[in-house]
């Protein structure tokens, strides 16, 4: 497991803050005036239909897109809140390689499909300076075990894996450096229901055991209910309703949220 270099984690201080975040593509406003604070250990779900601006927001928050207005600040491991736009290249790399995880809907985007599962997990460790082969392999195999991938598959490449296994491997690759914040873009999209349930249960346990903060973009309200503490509902690039997850889902106020909730097919 990666060492936390004197990590200061005060659960009462926000880990990430968005202030007046906006992004326009010409005349199209993909994201308008989004503000919120995320605390350590807190899971925030961003829900809304396709085109509502969820993925743009995730890219803005994870510094993959520059905002047209507003800013994102993040509490670095030394406890200092920094504007993401002001970070140097080395600091941004540190965030991406160590302190953040990013779980893509399509595991092929987050994994190297042709190298072994063990190497996929070990690579993140090597990127942060681990160089002892035995330790890397031990840590990689303990993570594969944690995400319920048999050790006998450690030398196989993920292209030989099923969709659910690939997604679990992607999660292991992200969590091996003990990030404090994980971004997830439709993490269960494209998986069949039984595989989804297993993945959700796994993520739920990992998030609480590791005191992880996470921002999960999903159009699936069941995923939001199972995984998140808080929900933001987006429509037309704007946050139209936000609150405690069960409150928003059981007592939705906005017309669009009521429509979303009432559109769930009973199982």
């Amino acid at each position: 497991m990666a060492e936390h270099e004197g990590a200061v984690q005060d659960n009462n201080q926000p880990l990430l803050m968005a202030e007046g975040l906006s992004k326009s593509y010409g005349r199209l406003m993909a994201c308008r005036d989004v503000s919120f604070a995320l605390y350590p250990g807190e899971v925030l779900a961003v829900v809304g239909e396709s085109g509502s601006g969820k993925t743009t927001l995730l890219q803005l928050l994870s510094a993959q897109l520059a905002p047209s207005a507003g800013r994102v600040s993040y509490r670095m491991r030394d406890g200092v809140m920094r504007d993401l736009a002001s970070l140097g290249e080395a600091e941004r790399r540190f965030l991406f390689r160590t302190d953040w995880g990013y779980v893509h809907q399509d595991p092929a985007l987050g994994l190297r499909m042709a190298v072994s599962a063990g190497a996929n997990v070990g690579e993140r460790l090597m990127a942060v300076g681990w160089n002892h082969y035995g330790r890397i392999r031990d840590t990689a195999s303990s993570w594969l075990e944690r995400v319920e991938i048999g050790i006998d598959r450690i030398d196989d490449a993920p292209r030989t894996y099923s969709g659910g296994m690939r997604q679990r491997l992607q999660i292991a690759r992200n969590l091996v450096t003990e990030p404090r914040l994980v971004f997830m873009d439709e993490p269960t999209g494209g998986l069949d229901v039984s595989v989804q349930a297993r993945l959700l249960d796994l993520m739920r346990n990992l998030v609480s055991e590791l005191n992880l903060a996470a921002i999960v973009v999903t159009h699936d309200l069941a995923v939001a209910r199972l995984l998140s503490h808080r929900v933001m509902v987006m429509k037309g690039g704007r946050v139209i309703e936000t609150g405690l997850t069960d409150q928003v889902l059981d007592d939705p106020c906005e017309p669009y949220t009521q429509l979303l909730v009432s559109s769930i097919l009973p199982a």
Binding site: Y39, A197, G243, Q247, D250, Q258
Partner: protein, 232 residues
């Protein structure tokens, strides 16, 4: 004031936007308090808003006006105005809720469903499982079922799992929505005993029970919800 729950003039209206914005007033002027060690039973016909009041106290339904004062970690917090983080903290440390139906997480074993509130509060997994087992045994859930997820259980079994999950922690406030509805006489008696033990431990409870006999056994006071009827 030593009350654990102190509600004044709480109000709830649903606006149904998909039905042309119809306003559905549920309750208005809800005011009552609950002391430690006391069980207050909400009475009134179906649809009078009893469950809505419980959900407002739990922060599951929003409160449109008024105040829901909860004694939490030595201070009073107004749940009607609290931040999501504060509500979660209140649920972790102060308020337990036994709903009518178990919302089971797929794939999680019964003993873990029951033990979870203790683990969240920092108890070691093995000890929490042991306490879960003791409670499940008391509620007559056979040991061979403990390792299975409760989603396939009968209605009565699911409700008992739900009761075990609600009663396992030592939270100072407990909300009970029809805890005995689908139980047989033997299990109803167990629940009545559990409620008695909570009272002696100083827990403040608000309950909804339709069964007159059970109500008689557990109620210290009855609050008539029809007096909070909002439709006028």
């Amino acid at each position: 004031m030593t009350a654990m729950i102190e509600i004044s003039n709480a109000e709830k209206t649903f606006t149904m936007h998909l039905q042309g914005g119809v306003q559905l007033p549920v309750v208005r002027g809800v005011s009552f308090f609950v002391e430690p060690g006391e069980c207050v039973v909400l009475a009134g016909p179906s649809g009078a808003g009893k469950s809505s009041i419980l959900k407002m106290i739990f922060g599951n339904y929003r409160c449109d006006a008024g105040r829901i004062g909860i004694r939490h970690q030595g201070a009073q917090i107004d749940l009607a105005r609290a931040e999501p983080r504060q509500i979660l903290s209140v649920r972790r440390a102060t308020i337990g809720y036994v709903s009518q139906f178990l919302r089971a997480v797929p794939r999680v074993a019964t003993s873990d469903v029951v033990a979870e509130p203790l683990i969240v509060n920092g108890m070691a997994r093995s000890e929490a499982r042991e306490r879960a087992g003791a409670l499940l045994r008391r509620l007559n859930i056979p040991e061979r079922l403990w390792a299975l997820p409760p989603s396939t259980f009968s209605g009565g079994e699911q409700q008992r799992v739900n009761i075990a999950r609600g009663f396992i922690s030592d939270l100072p406030i407990l909300l009970l929505d029809e805890p005995t509805a689908s139980l047989d006489a033997a299990n109803r008696a167990v629940v009545v005993d559990l409620i008695g033990e909570k009272k002696r431990a100083g827990v403040a409870m608000v309950a909804i029970v339709h069964d007159d006999e059970i109500r008689h056994l557990i109620a210290d006071r009855i609050v008539d919800v029809t007096s909070f009827a909002a439709a006028a």
